[in-house]
Every structure is written in C-alpha cells, then in structure tokens.
Assembly symmetry: C2
C-alpha cells in the first residue's frame, strides 16, 4: 500500500468516493473487527481531526439503541486518529480506555468524534475525546496507546 | 420467553447444547451487536459467575490479535452478568466502563471472566472483573450500570 499525500494522517488511507462520508478517508489496512463493526472514517478540517461512523441495525443492543461495544470500538478507532493529530499515523496497542456513556445513539444517525492529543511520548501516547450525534455528546473517552516497537527493515 | 429455573441468573437464558460451552447458558434475548461479536456465555460454579467467549477471525484487529473492541464488548456483557451475582438479571444501560488491556488474546483460545459485584444500589450497580485466557489476565475492567426504570404492566 502506498501513502496518499492528501490524507489527513500520513499512513495508509484511501479516499471515500461515495455515501455519507464521501470525501473522507478510510484506513486501507485489514482490521476484520473494525471493518465488521464500522466501517469508520476520518477527515481533517480547520478545527482538526474528525472521525465518523454511521451505526446500522447490526450495531444495536437488546434495547434497540447502539450497543456500548460498538461505541467503544469507534472510540478506540477515534483514539488512534486523535493520537495522530500531528499528522503521523500511530502504530501500537490500546493499554487503557475509559468510557462514559453520556446518552444513547440510534441506528441511521451519523456519529462524529473530535478529541485532543494530550501527550505523544516515545512509548506512550495519551489522548481523549467525545463522540457526538449532531451537537449531543454520546460518549466521552480517554485512553493510552503503547507504541509498537519499530521493526528495522 | 419463559425463565429457566436452572439458569445461573433468573432471567431469559437457554442452555447451550453443543460446542466448547456445552452446558453453559446463553441469554435468549435479541442483541444484534453482542450476537455478531460473540456469542457470549455464562455459567455459575462454586466460586460464582463465570462468562465465556471464544474469539474468531472476525474478532481480530490489524495486528492479528483480538481487537480491543471485541474484548470490551465481552467485558460489557460480563459486567452485566457479574452485576447479577445475587441471582437476578440486571436490566439497564452501561454508564461507565474502564478497561486496562493487560495482554493480547488470540483467535481460537477460550476467554473467561470472573468478577465482583461491588454494590447493587437501587438505581446504580457497580461491578468489576478480569478477563482471562487460561490463567493469564487479558483485560481488567470496572463499570457502572444504571438500572432501567421498571415498567408496571
């Protein structure tokens, strides 16, 4: 996969050409659980990194609203995108993720998230953010990523 | 759906009749995201409530290990089962869920979780637990459930 110099984050992203996220970007790597739960999208505007997710019927829980597990999976994706706010993709694993479920979300309503890169250290990256439906906060999250050791090749 | 008096939790659970979780129980309600991510199972032994999950290829992330979102979805299910330690199903929504990812998990290796009901209040239930692969801790979680208002009918 080649990097796309227009992408909001330096890494493997491809432009979305149709649907409600047309013009946004999708990570072009293979992540079966994220692709099965989402897909999730990312763009950058004058205020910074924005991520997006359109929940479907498959994402619902027994109450008929979006399952917390689906929201946390989107929060985890968003954590990595916010962590890349300086422009470089962050490769690593989530070490902690704390979530507050502020309000429920419905299928068919677009969710977006913005956040803040708290600190990008050499081994740990700290970030936090909020998932919104329109102007309504849905989930508040904060997390820590441990960077993968770089393989020289 | 009728309650099964043998189930580890009073509620809508059906006995599993085949596979690695034969003899365990599955919630018989409809939860598209949980069923798509899991299925997840529950039983009770002399030490208390145990939940189980066998991750598959569909649960993996880009590193080829089980995605944090799948583990958090299992943690959320386990939170509700641990919250029902006194024997009564807890109906409500997750308000907070905090997760520490202690080690990675592989597809095809059975995960189990045990936990502790910290406090079952009238409106909020506090619980915590650990997901294990064998004896190895994989994820440590703590969370709060807000009970659904009871509908009189």
């Amino acid at each position: 996969m080649s990097e796309n110099s227009e992408a909001p984050i330096r890494g493997n992203f491809e432009r979305v050409t149709r649907g409600p996220f047309e013009g946004w970007w999708k990570w072009s790597g293979k992540d079966p659980f994220e692709d099965g739960t989402g897909p999730f999208f990312v763009t950058r505007d004058e205020r910074g990194i924005v991520t997006g997710f359109m929940p479907e019927q498959k994402n619902l829980n027994g109450h008929g609203i979006v399952h917390g597990g689906a929201l946390m999976t989107f929060a985890d994706f968003s954590l990595f995108m916010v962590a890349a706010s300086n422009g470089d993709e962050v490769t690593g694993v989530t070490v902690t993720l704390n979530c507050e479920f502020v309000s429920g979300a419905q299928a068919g309503e677009m969710l977006t998230s913005r956040g803040e890169l708290v600190r990008a250290g050499g081994s740990l990256v700290f970030a936090r953010g909020t998932i919104f439906c329109g102007e309504t906060p849905v989930l508040s999250y904060s997390g820590t990523i441990k960077r993968a050791r770089r393989v020289s090749h």
